[in-house]
Symmetry: C2
Subunit: 192 residues, 2 copies
């Protein structure tokens, strides 16, 4: 009962996320966010609380979706190297897709709010740790299948892939030429 919402909260969070990605947390004013969502400021506050709470909702949702897509690609059948390559290519494609180059909210938040925002930082570093673990597991699978040399240090490999992934996301914010991106991906895969 009560008056129904005129907007889809999910859609609203998605729109707000785009703003946070593009301009960062500090530069995303309530007016900007409300306009992007297509709703009055008051409604935003009524629905989500403070700006920081809205941001955390965006960040959590983003992290969850990112991780889900990630895992889905890693869980597919086929050689381990191909699966990992597809994850990198998906990230690169996401960056290229939007001409505004909003980049990755996790990475952007890691650099913008590394200090000053313990709550966001927790989500960010947890998310990064999860990614690393997921990579580490698929590498182990590759080792069992004989696709990855078992004497290699899988932890180190996962770290390296993780780091490359983050670097790619930063490069993706600029209009980095596609050749460099491809080269980095191939280099990382070959290094496994």
């Amino acid at each position: 009962m009560g008056r129904p919402k005129t907007f889809d909260p999910d859609e609203a969070i998605r729109a707000a996320t785009r703003v946070f990605q593009a301009y960062g947390y500090a530069a995303s004013s309530p007016t900007l966010l409300a306009d992007a969502v297509g709703v009055g400021k008051g409604s935003l506050y009524h629905a989500f609380g403070t700006k920081h709470e809205l941001f955390m909702a965006c960040l959590n949702r983003y992290a969850a979706e990112e991780y889900a897509e990630f895992q889905q690609l890693l869980d597919q059948p086929g050689p381990v190297r191909d699966r990992i390559r597809r994850v990198f290519e998906a990230a690169a494609a996401a960056d290229q897709a939007d001409p505004a180059r909003p980049g990755c909210l996790i990475v952007n938040t890691a650099t913008e709010r590394g200090l000053s925002d313990a709550e966001a930082s927790t989500v960010v570093w947890d998310s990064i740790a999860r990614t690393r673990t997921a990579l580490r597991e698929v590498l182990a699978e590759g080792a069992r299948a004989g696709e990855v040399e078992t004497e290699q240090d899988l932890d180190a490999l996962a770290d390296m892939l993780q780091c490359t992934m983050i670097g790619l996301r930063v490069l993706g914010r600029g209009s980095a030429n596609q050749d460099s991106i491809r080269a980095v991906i191939e280099s990382a895969i070959e290094n496994i």
Copy 2:
């Protein structure tokens, strides 16, 4: 003639840089900056103009110093791999040095002001391109000296090292464990 400055402009820029690194451009208020420099707001404006001009001064100086240190390490004698490793280690050490983990101003700016600030973006991507070129040149030197296999694609290698470098700088903002950092560096070097 005229009243002499009570502060060293160089030192002021350095102090301001620390603030910008830690909190980002948007969250660095004039009050915060003036306090960090230890001078009244008015003096800052008198000496540097707008906040954005001060920021650009910081960014340019930071990029120049970073690049100089970089080149200096790459120009030292010894095996190419060792020189490159030292560059990475220097970056990691810089991140570890300050417990506040301010990270790299270039990388932070790349993610925070990728859109909305064309002037800063120019400096950022130019700086990144220069780094890549420097790496590319030392790799070529290594190829001539027989330390790097000549049939390798040096451009691709430079891209990969560059990307790893950026990833490291992001990881450096968190309290990433030192083992991971070391593993990433070794992995990158081995991949040459």
